[in-house]
Symmetry: C2
Subunit: 211 residues, 2 copies
DNA sequence: TCACTTCTGTAGTGATCGTTCTAGAAGTAC
DNA sequence: GTACTTCTAGAACGATCACTACAGAAGTGA
């Protein structure tokens, strides 16, 4: 067994609490004092357990992505069709961004939008991770264009950028107080922009050649 | 003529400089030291001319809305059709949010997304002003539903919320480094979600009843 | 019991925050 | 010139920032 005085708090619970505070206020606006108050532990305990503020945030971010934010990767991985994946992504985001028991919006999107120059690396890290997500979406769309789900000439980059922007807009709206139903309607509208299916008879013909 | 030592700087220019700094870094992340450095004046001069940081920001915000951000109100006021207004709004936003000579994105959207609790009133003010813009858009859409430009059953609130979210997403994308062409493609995609025209023969028939 | 290790609470580090005091500079009015 | 007013520069205010030195508490291993 480990020797020495045992830790007086649960590290996992503390990390969850830190996620909540960072999620609510963002990286820069979250002070160590806010964290120690929220977690009910002293600053030295926090530093001993997690390192410094940056390391704590990065660990919280990592955990966030693998839990609260995992629905995005799941939607892309589990839905065979790109259209179904995007629809599921948007609908689950509408719910996830407006849960009453959690901070609003998306931590990955909203935690470092206004940051001081000395936190620029944190903002860059979040931007990079957003880019990874957007590229996964783009790959899904490009694959659909190859399989025939979408027209071969589909601009996967443009479409992925659009839905990435819609997600960012939904997060912003959620943080502005929009209701879950409002976000669902945003999702509905965004899905109207999905390109008409490739013209092969089975489509419903919105984009089909006339006559 | 006014007595006393004359001001050593141009107040108007200083306000423009403050707009640029707040636009780039947001309210909380902008320090007085950053402002005095950028404007080339001392702190007492800044305080004498503008009051405190909050008052300076609010004055910068007011000026921003009537200059850099005025294209939104103009699009809604000058375009007779709601569809044309929204298209112009999105296309001008795509350009305005990615100008190389200005900070990226929209100050009204991005200046207080992560703010400390003691700046909550600033965030609330920005949120309120965003709400004013969204309501103007909603009114424009509702009017179009009354005149027959849009179907009478059009959900103006849902559609306005969608385009408000798209604008917020475009601002976020611009701040993430997206190119002007990327934002134009977002605008194009978002316009695909515009409802089909009311069925009265003169429409181009995308949503017209078949045969 | 006693050494050893690890954690906790108090208090304090230097830096930076927004803001202001104070002394003097730079103008007008007479 | 002198009086008066207004602005500027430097220094400093208390508060808060992220972070840590230090001393004692609380456990294990002998």
């Amino acid at each position: 067994m480990r020797t020495g005085r045992p830790r007086s708090f649960d590290r996992h619970e503390a990390l969850e609490g830190a996620i909540a505070v960072f999620w609510e206020h963002g990286y820069d606006a979250t002070s160590i004092a806010m964290l120690t108050r929220a977690l009910g532990i002293g600053a030295p305990s926090l530093y001993a357990a997690f390192g410094d503020k940056r390391a704590l945030f990065l660990e919280a971010l990592d955990r966030y992505i693998r839990t609260y934010g995992a629905f995005t990767a799941r939607a892309l991985a589990e839905e065979p069709n790109a259209r179904d994946a995007v629809e599921r992504l948007l609908r689950e985001a509408a719910a996830a961004y407006t849960r009453p028991d959690r901070p609003r919006g998306c931590l990955l999107i909203a935690a470092a939008t206004n940051c001081s120059p000395q936190s620029a690396d944190i903002a860059a890290r979040l931007r990079e991770l957003r880019g990874v997500g957007a590229r996964a979406l783009e790959d899904k769309i490009a694959a659909a264009a190859r399989t025939g789900e979408l027209p071969a000439h589909t601009d996967a980059h443009a479409l992925a950028t659009f839905y990435a922007a819609v997600l960012q807009g939904m997060s912003a709206q959620a943080r502005d107080g929009a209701a879950g139903t409002d976000l669902e309607q945003i999702a509905d509208a965004a899905l109207q922009a999905w390109p008409p299916a490739a013209d092969q008879g089975a489509s419903d013909g919105v984009g089909a050649a006339p006559k």
